[in-house]
Amino acid sequence: VRLRRRPLACQEVVELVTDYLEGALPRGLARAVERHLAGCPNCRAFVEQVRAAIRLARALPPEEVGDDVLDALTRAFEEYHDGGGDPPRAAP
């Protein structure tokens, strides 16, 4: 039995975009989204813009860690390893 879903409205489609892109929609609903997008340039633009947002977020330059923090943590790491966590290195 194939139930034909009623057409989705734009306002419904915009709320389903992430579920759609994640492949998390049931098949019938995913098809209904696709049918809507095929006929709706506005929602197609919206989806492209969500994709642009994802792409830009992925392209953000990584934040830097302050040298003071990095140095302090490295000292703690070295002290832990020098201080007995590890067996002493074998003498040559």
């Binding site: 409205a9 734009c10 633009a45 990584p62 790491f77």
Partner: protein, 213 residues
């Protein structure tokens, strides 16, 4: 920059960390620290406290490395420690401070992420009232200009913290939904609601810049 791209790299990295390779440790800190601060910010009242929680987490990681069994990935293990510490810290502070964040927004799946004023027609079933401008074709956006990246960064800075946690891990760090759900202790459904609201907010922040118009 991937610190450990695959299982072999991860084993190698772990061996170097356990052997006391400070360079390897610095790489791991550089790679994860910023995202850890953003995740911790979701639980505590300020950036400064989040930084403290992250530093405490690194100390716990250093002490725990020998006992890490490798059942989860290294980053999942590190972030799980982080979330536990941040939650403990956040809970302590909530007794003395007015509640910092809680948007409780994972429960808000029913709230529209696009303002209803953008639509015309029956409530909840409307059509776009105005054509959606095609600003995504603008070269500044398509070519990931510094200006477009700054617009995204600015939106992230102002974003409610729960949804930002999810977007940072999924879209900036490239984690899987399963990893994010495991570390944050949320359901797949809530994860998608938060991710959707975050992405739509970033889209709105870009739209507000009026590219190409």
């Amino acid at each position: 920059v991937a610190v450990a791209a695959g299982p072999d790299d991860e084993r190698d990295l772990l061996a170097r960390l356990r052997a006391g390779d400070a360079g390897a440790f610095r790489d791991v800190v550089r790679h994860h620290h910023p995202a850890m601060v953003r995740v911790a910010e979701g639980y505590v009242r300020s950036r400064a406290v989040a930084e403290e929680v992250v530093q405490d987490t690194w100390l716990a990681v250093v002490r725990g490395l020998d006992g890490f069994e490798g059942r989860a990935s290294l980053r999942t293990w590190i972030f799980t420690i982080l979330v536990r510490q941040a939650q403990a810290r956040g809970g302590r502070e909530q007794r003395t401070e007015p509640s910092a964040d809680p948007t409780g927004e994972a429960a808000l799946g029913a709230t529209p992420s696009v303002p209803p004023s953008r639509f015309t027609g029956p409530p909840g079933h409307g059509a776009w009232a105005q054509p959606v401008a095609r600003w995504h074709d603008d070269p500044a956006v398509a070519q990931e200009s510094a200006e477009a990246l700054e617009a995204v960064a600015a939106t992230l800075r102002q974003m409610p913290l729960q949804r930002r946690q999810v977007m940072v891990l999924r879209d900036l760090e490239g984690w899987t939904s399963q990893e994010v759900c495991d570390v944050l202790g949320i359901s797949e459904g809530n994860q998608r609601v938060l991710l959707h609201r975050a992405r739509v907010q970033v889209r709105a922040g870009l739209e507000a810049r009026g590219w190409g118009s």
